[in-house]
């Protein structure tokens, strides 16, 4: 039924220079084709692990529509590959799968823009990096400085970043320029287990570890002057990028519901090629409960990035002075499930769009966008690595039809952490980055080595595919000048 034969380039049909398709005839259990955004030269690297097999597995999900998609930063995950997108028909038997969203629910990126040019920031970069490192707890086991009661946590789970603005952290503009306004409807905090709550008890305003980071950057290239102006970006401006998610709370929510759905899988009569794809119909009690819990975890993640943004601003002003400001350009999620309406065979259909390691990238005139960005499209924030550039793109009008309005989420790993640690020494990497003009604050040399630029794909190539395919267009490129990691 689901024979797992190796995929070769000959199995793929070239749609255009940036898009290839694995036809639904490739495996007998596929319900729709699988499409991969890449160039032919990227295939061998992508096919080194099992990510394309995982992509094919997604096409077997009940109720999946149109095609399963892989972004050019695709790499092997569990259940879904990282960089995977799939949409299921909510009202026609479509499923929701926690493994299609990931354990770090609403892991995402927030970008702040400084009103101080790089010429004034660079002389103080060491002080700034230290101030940010001290202000924002990072690493495993380092709790946040903000104390909150279980009742406070319930409000945060229900209302996300909005709850923090009401308590004096951040401002309304932060909410305006955030996907879902930082507060997604449909949360049910009652479905968050005591374990998940315990894990969250001191984690608001914490970065965590792994690939999460804070980065100070300088805008070094503008590709589209008109859009950059609307986004408020100019050459030599300074930005601060925040990358993190829902911490232990999100991990526990996903663990709880994978278990719940795995237990119920026989009840629904599904036959899945991977138990990590455990799922339930969106309209079932299990599906509805998971969605409501996932939304609550997503709200916690938005509150987390919002609180970190607040702490970054305080630290920034302590070094740069009280007139120095940081405003939010945008905040995007890249691990989430969303109820969205899309055209399927000419009809608007209610879909559950799973984006796991993929960013929403809505084009111009999307009702979800703030007025300021409505004429150009949604900012799409693509972090690179600690030694390479990051990008701001803008969602393309054509993206809705092509990719359910989705784009890549980063460079994408190409090397295992084990291999990276064996090949790269943290101390040497720190020196190398220093030579490139990048200040590093990170307690763990091995953690630094794991996240070395060489462990990732070429971000420029990944972004070029997204741009060339017309999913999102390049607006600005930023180079890192300081990296803060757990």
């Amino acid at each position: 039924m689901n024979e797992k034969r190796r995929i070769t380039l000959a199995d793929l049909v070239k749609i255009n220079e940036y898009l290839f398709e694995i036809p639904a005839s490739f495996r007998s259990d596929m319900r729709v084709p699988a499409r991969v955004y890449m160039t032919a030269t990227m295939f061998d690297e992508i096919n080194e692990d099992t990510s394309l097999q995982q992509l094919v597995n997604i096409t077997t999900l009940p109720g999946i529509k149109k095609h399963a998609l892989a972004m050019p930063d695709i790499h092997q995950g569990y259940g879904f590959p990282i960089g995977g997108v799939a949409a299921t028909a909510i009202d026609h038997g479509g499923v929701i799968s926690p493994g299609g969203i990931g354990y770090d629910i609403n892991c995402g990126v927030r970008l702040l823009v400084a009103n101080t040019p790089s010429s004034q920031v660079l002389p103080l970069i060491e002080k700034l990096a230290t101030a940010l490192y001290n202000a924002v707890p990072s690493g495993v086991g380092r709790g946040g400085i903000h104390r909150y009661t279980p009742e406070d946590l319930t409000v945060i789970l229900q209302h996300g970043a909005k709850a923090l603005v009401e308590r004096g952290y951040g401002n309304e503009q932060d909410l305006l320029f955030c996907e879902e306004g930082g507060s997604m409807d449909g949360a049910n905090p009652d479905l968050i287990s005591d374990r998940a709550r315990h894990r969250a008890h001191d984690q608001l305003g914490t970065l965590g570890s792994g690939n999460h980071f804070l980065e100070i950057q300088v805008v070094e290239k503008i590709y589209d002057d008109a859009v950059a102006r609307i986004f408020g970006l100019e050459i030599d401006m300074v930005t601060v990028m925040i990358h993190c998610g829902s911490r232990g709370l999100g991990h526990q929510v996903c663990t709880d519901f994978v278990r719940n759905m795995d237990n119920a899988i026989e009840q629904f009569g599904f036959s899945l090629p991977d138990r990590e794809l455990a799922c339930a119909p969106c309209t079932s009690a299990q599906g509805r409960d998971y969605y409501a819990a996932m939304v609550a975890a997503a709200n916690f993640a938005w509150a987390n990035r919002h609180m970190i943004g607040h702490m970054v601003r305080k630290a920034w002003q302590e070094v740069m002075g009280s007139n120095a400001t940081l405003h939010t350009l945008y905040d995007v999620s890249h691990n989430i499930g969303k109820q969205e309406k899309h055209l399927i065979e000419g009809k608007r259909m209610n879909l559950m769009v799973h984006r796991k390691g993929a960013t929403r990238a809505f084009g111009p005139h999307s009702p979800e966008l703030p007025e300021r960005y409505a004429s150009v499209g949604q900012p799409v924030l693509i972090p690179g690595t600690m030694g390479t550039s990051s990008y701001v793109l803008v969602g393309a009008a054509d993206g809705l039809e092509q990719s359910f309005g989705s784009s890549c989420h980063g460079a994408g790993r190409r090397m295992s952490r084990t291999k990276a640690k064996a090949m790269i020494k943290g101390k040497e990497l720190r020196k190398h980055l220093q030579k490139l003009g990048i200040t590093v604050r990170c307690d763990s040399e091995s953690g630094l080595a794991e996240e070395a630029p060489r462990a990732y794909k070429d971000i420029d190539q990944v972004v070029e595919v997204v741009h060339g395919a017309g999913l999102a267009y390049k607006v600005a490129r930023m180079r890192p000048i300081a990296v803060i990691k757990g």
């Binding site: 692990d49 990510s51 790499h75 092997q76 995950g77 569990y78 259940g79 990282i82 493994g99 990931g102 354990y103 770090d104 690493g139 495993v140 086991g141 374990r195 315990h198 894990r199 965590g208 570890s209 792994g210 232990g248 991990h251 526990q252 996903c254 663990t255 994978v258 278990r259 795995d262 237990n263 991977d274 138990r275 990590e276 455990a278 790993r413 190409r414 090397m415 295992s416 952490r417 084990t418 291999k419 307690d443 763990s444 953690g447």
Partner: protein
């Protein structure tokens, strides 16, 4: 308990490969492998002491699963929760009862406070292997990190 564990490279995550002379010892080695990944430094401290060392932390755990595969995921998820919640790792494990669908065990370990700890987000079903071999049992479990 006889057995061994090793951590195997994976593009974005980490795979734990475990061998046990018995089904019970497999669970012991899985706890050890997870703890070693989370905080090798704490495990080195335990190993450097006498094997009779009384570890200060004790946790009792009971888990179930609809089959042995689910039991592995649920048991390790519970151990991970305890590690994360209390900032601890465990090295000595007494398996009190163990079937294909349930396990009760006592975990002995130490605090990881002040030490460099690695993160494991979750224990996954993906490509999970659980097999009886000629010499005992083997398992492979992928951790999302």
């Amino acid at each position: 308990m006889d057995g061994s564990f090793e951590l195997v490279a994976h593009t974005a995550d980490v795979k734990l490969r475990v061998k046990g002379s018995s089904y019970r010892s497999l669970f012991v080695q899985m706890v050890r492998g997870m703890s070693h990944y989370l905080c090798a430094n704490a495990i080195a401290t335990i190993e450097s002491e006498s094997t009779c060392m009384i570890l200060p932390v004790l946790r009792n755990t009971h888990e179930s699963g609809r089959d042995a595969t689910a039991l592995v995921v649920n048991f390790l998820s519970e151990v991970l929760y305890l590690c994360d919640r209390y900032n601890e790792v465990y090295w000595y494990v007494t398996v009190n009862n163990c079937t294909q669908q349930s396990i009760s065990a006592t975990l002995y370990g130490i605090s990881t406070a002040g030490r460099n700890v690695q993160d494991i987000k979750a224990v996954t079903f993906h490509d999970l292997i659980l097999e009886e071999s000629a010499t005992g049992w083997i398992a492979e479990v992928l951790f999302d990190i």
